[in-house]
Amino acid sequence: MFHMIISGLLLGTVLGFVFQRGRFCVTGAFRDLFTTRSTRWFTAFMVIVAVQSIGVFALDAVGVIELGGGTFPWLGTIIGGFIFGFAIVLAGGCATGTYYRAGEGLVGSWLALIFYILGAAAFRFGPLAGTTDSIRSIEISNGNLYETIGVTPWILVILLVAAVAVAALRHLNRERQVHKMSLPATKTGLAHVLTERAWHPFMTAVIIGVIATLAWPLSWATGRESGLGITGPSANIGVFLGTGDMALVDWGMMLVLGLLIGSFIAAKASGEFKIRVPDATTTVRSITGGAMMGWGAAWAGGCTIGNAMVNTATFGFQGWTALLFMVLGTGAATRIFITNHKRQGAGPKPVLSTVS
């Protein structure tokens, strides 16, 4: 069994590396919609969904995996999604973002991660699991769009890919008109590409989309019949640490451990690892946000990855509803904590005056 789940560790390591180097932050993608009204990173996020959608329905067509079915626990998805979206602003990153920032040495993310694991474990298996069961028992029996309206999923795949392609091309066209500065290169060849150069968000998104697709057959082969997922494995870590139950050590747990390893390797190799200790405000926000993330993800049935990135690719009602309410939650928290940001002593200090 162990040789099977090791593929989760390897895939997670690659994914952690790509997230760190690509500066891929789903929280940022949602937040930018409100702070700068920019859809650049959100479009990149949707590129992942589109690439993965093609991939998973192709795998389904050839019989490697089997999609469809499921129900739609709408109330938990709506409330949990909103809580999760709100929480990721406080924590400074979604579940994946928190894992990879932990690997970069951000102590605030270590705290968010610990409390996310605790929150997810408490709401999935612990004393609060009853609330999750209750709210998720309120459901609609149809789980996905294509089975409900009775069409082949490929019609939806084509529509999604076309819409995302139009949005991506619009961004690429606009980019040609501005000149963005990059850091001076100090490395050459592969080292420059992998550990120095700024990756284009859409390129990173395509790579993540391919990794997310590969996750399905690799995870399926170990008996875990789903794609990328962060919250379930994180809750399992919490329970495993308390019980030592080896049955919890699965492909998903290896995946999230890989995220930490991969982002640490990426940050270290790029000279971007530094232990950074947060101030008092950030510490409180990281802890609160982390715990709320575990709560929201449990009620919603997944985080920005499992729900908003994976369940959307399979046209699940839960995924798209969660995506919408996560974005709304992020918007609410952004209005409160980002737009009104004021830091004591923050401001420009004159350092050098010259007569020009």
Binding site: R40, E104, G105, L183, H341
Partner: protein
């Protein structure tokens, strides 16, 4: 021409960019703003902001492990 320093080390993203936007409003046209930051994501978001707003970047360097400095001119 005056150079101004905005120190944001220790601030997590997106706060370095949020503070940079506030700071650029407080300096005179033609002045330069040096922004020190140590959150990785800002290596993308700050030059992107400068490019989209037409602020020339006169310097962009890595100061050390996970520490950067970017200088933009208010234009």
């Amino acid at each position: 021409m005056t150079k101004h320093l905005l120190e944001t080390d220790g601030q997590v993203c997106p706060f370095p960019l949020v503070e940079a936007k506030q700071a650029i409003n407080q300096i005179d046209l033609g002045d330069e703003l040096i922004i020190n930051f140590d959150c990785t994501q800002a290596t993308d978001s700050i030059p992107q902001w400068a490019a989209e707003n037409g602020y020339p970047v006169t310097e962009f360097i890595k100061r050390g492990a996970a520490e950067w400095s970017i200088t933009v001119r208010k234009a």
